[in-house]
């Protein structure tokens, strides 16, 4: 080994002594928690093509002037647009932008047009790669929608590439820009070997905006799990219908934090019925910040002939601080404990190859999200969970699915204490919480 290599090796040895900071996990979890949830829809290719063909025939056949905004671009987006958007697009409800940025690699991104209403800003863009590797290029691109003061609007969307890989079309939607936004930017960062940042500026033309159809303040409280959820508002615009609500205000959040009984909601399933028919959910999100824990659920647009609206709470699930300890003995235990009204059955505790295993059964929607085992006074984190079985049982006419699996902890000992610090579960409600007749 040369002298330089020796020196380099010493540096490596020092680096090897590094330990991962304890707060890494919680910092990362926080970063993720602060992001709105996103759902991505990718539509079936063939279906998209069929729709495109049908519409192409329609276009040639009848009124060409409705295509004032998208003109020939329209057909390309059919497979990535949902029903409502297609209809609006056909009516020419968008604002044409048609501006491009060309990367040194030869890849071009074109912002073809946008649509704007009270709920959403929807952007239509195309990525072109003459080399035919557009999907790889797309993975290297980070696209963001940026407003005044560099506000980054989070979005979700779907995209699809053509067969020879030269073109990919995306439709993405974000929250409606704040009222003061006039000029916005589509920022595209290339993350590959050649880092490059492209910006396409566009102006919001609010005279083209479509506004809203229905706007309702609801302020309805529902009791859920010893807490109250508030449904605050419903705004139906031509592109989407959004329900907003609050799970905890900042005061309640603070009190729980101090008591060490934090509750981290993860999933709220609310069904919206229009004229008795379920409206499709597009995306949803829960955020925690200075305003408390708030959520939104975005659905497809309401039908034109809307007569009545019904909102139903189906289920609600989250992660709870529990801090429960259970003393265990080895062998067949068959002990059932109740934590936050959820049954946890401990079936068996055994040792194998220097590890301790605990076999448990819970409802399929219940997970012990943070659990450790105290072995003779020494705390051992959960090493891994060995998969088990799902079993259907019928209790009082309703079907329940039970999940049995085995927890593995390193080490063995005489005195065992299972420590459940956090638990995740989902409760079913299926209750109507709001009904409204229109006119």
């Amino acid at each position: 080994m040369t002298n330089i290599e020796k020196l380099l090796k010493e540096s490596k040895d020092n680096l090897d002594r590094l330990e991962v900071p304890e707060d890494m996990e919680s910092r990362l979890r926080n970063a993720l928690d602060n992001m709105p949830n996103r759902k991505i829809k990718r539509k079936n290719r063939t279906r998209g093509k069929v729709a495109a063909l049908v519409i192409a025939t329609l276009l040639v056949g009848s009124n060409m002037d409705t295509l004032a905004y998208y003109g020939k671009r329209l057909i390309g987006y059919e497979s990535v647009m949902d029903g409502t958007l297609q209809e609006l697009n056909e009516l020419g409800k968008g604002q044409s932008i048609n501006k491009s940025y060309k990367f040194k690699s030869g890849v071009t991104v074109t912002l073809d047009g946008i649509m704007l209403d009270d709920n959403n800003l929807i952007a239509f863009y195309t990525i072109n790669d003459p080399k035919g590797k557009v999907e790889d290029k797309d993975s290297d691109l980070r696209v963001s929608i940026v407003g005044a003061l560099n506000k980054d609007y989070t979005y979700s969307g779907s995209g699809e590439a053509n067969e020879d890989g030269t073109e990919m079309r995306w439709v993405i939607a974000c929250d409606a820009p704040k009222f003061y936004e006039k000029k916005m930017k589509l920022k595209i960062e290339s993350m590959g070997t050649e880092q490059e940042e492209g910006v396409i500026e566009f102006k919001l033309d609010r005279t083209e905006a479509m506004g809203h159809k229905i706007k309702m303040s609801i302020y309805k409280k529902i009791k859920v799990d010893e807490r109250e959820i508030k449904i605050k508002s419903l705004v139906a615009s031509p592109t989407t219908t959004i329900i907003k609500g609050q799970i905890q205000n900042i005061l309640e959040l603070g009190v729980d934090h101090i008591k060490g009984e934090r509750f981290m909601p993860e999933n709220i399933d609310i069904v919206l019925l229009a004229n008795g028919k379920e409206v499709q959910v597009k995306s949803s999100g829960i955020s925690t910040d200075m305003k408390g824990i708030n959520f939104y659920i975005s659905y497809d647009a309401l039908p034109v002939d809307i007569k009545d609206i019904e909102i139903k709470l189906v289920s609600f699930g989250g992660n709870h601080d529990t801090n429960e300890s259970i003393e265990l003995s080895k062998g067949s235990v068959n002990k059932t404990i109740k934590i936050l009204e959820q049954d946890i059955s401990i079936n068996e505790v055994y040792e194998s190859k220097g590890n301790t295993y605990i076999n448990i059964t819970t409802d399929e929607n219940t997970t012990l999200s943070k659990v450790s085992l105290n072995i003779d006074g020494e705390k051992k984190e959960l090493e891994k969970t060995l998969p088990g079985d799902y079993e259907k049982i019928v209790v009082e006419g309703t079907t329940q699915i039970k999940h049995t699996r085995t927890l593995e902890f390193r080490g063995t000992g005489e005195k065992l204490e299972l420590n459940i610090q956090r638990m995740r579960y989902k409760k079913l409600y299926d209750e109507t919480i709001y009904k409204h007749k229109i006119r």
Binding site: T2, N3, I4, E5, L7, L8, K9, E10, S11, K12, N14, L15, R17, L18, V20, P21, D23, M24, E25, R27, L28, R29, A31, L32, D33, M35, N37, R38, K39, I40, E135, D136, D138, S139, R142, T154, M191, G192, T193, Q195, S369
Partner: protein
């Protein structure tokens, strides 16, 4: 097997699954970020940026097996972009004085090495650091930096030659 399932869940927007994927290789990520950032705080910042970018883009990942190399490329890019931003506010004359790794107990020798290493061009020093500090092979380095293996090798030999030349003295004969 489990990793594959987690990637699938993460692609469907499951945050906890993504977190578990990253935590499964936490030390690798942390050391990689540390090699660039040289202190705990900035390294964690970079990893935090990375996980946000992954969350926003994981649905675009075509080959699930490439998750770790893909995410490490993102981490390296996050590190570089933080370094670039930090540089903007550093006065010109200080640019060369990069920090040494915090963990050195007896920093004398290493400061010397670090001094010469940081005088190399960024593309040469990163190859040396990844190869020697993280023990990565040429292929992995190529995957993370998204450059061909031949380029990795040539940067490595040029980098090492320059390092020897600049350190001079006894090292020159290595």
């Amino acid at each position: 097997m489990e990793i594959k399932l987690l990637i699938k869940q993460a692609k469907n927007g499951d945050k906890e699954a993504l977190l578990r994927l990253v935590m499964a290789q936490q030390l690798d990520y942390y050391k990689l970020a540390y090699v660039y950032m040289k202190n705990e705080d900035d390294a964690l910042d970079a990893i935090q940026d990375m996980i946000v970018i992954i969350y926003e883009n994981i649905h675009k990942l075509k080959n699930d097996d490439a998750f770790y190399s893909w995410s490490k490329t993102i981490l390296v890019n996050s590190c570089k972009s933080i370094l670039r931003k930090n540089k903007k506010i550093v006065p010109l004359e200080n640019i060369r004085e990069e920090g040494t790794y915090e963990i050195y107990e007896n920093p004398e020798d290493k400061i010397v090495l670090e001094k010469y290493l940081s005088e190399l061009s960024p593309k040469h020093q990163e190859i040396i650091r990844l190869k020697y500090f993280l023990d990565l092979d040429y292929e992995t380095i190529g995957q993370i930096l998204k450059i061909p293996i031949g380029t990795v090798k040539s940067r490595m030999s040029v980098g090492m030659r320059k390092l020897k030349e600049s350190m001079g003295g006894e090292y020159l004969n290595d």
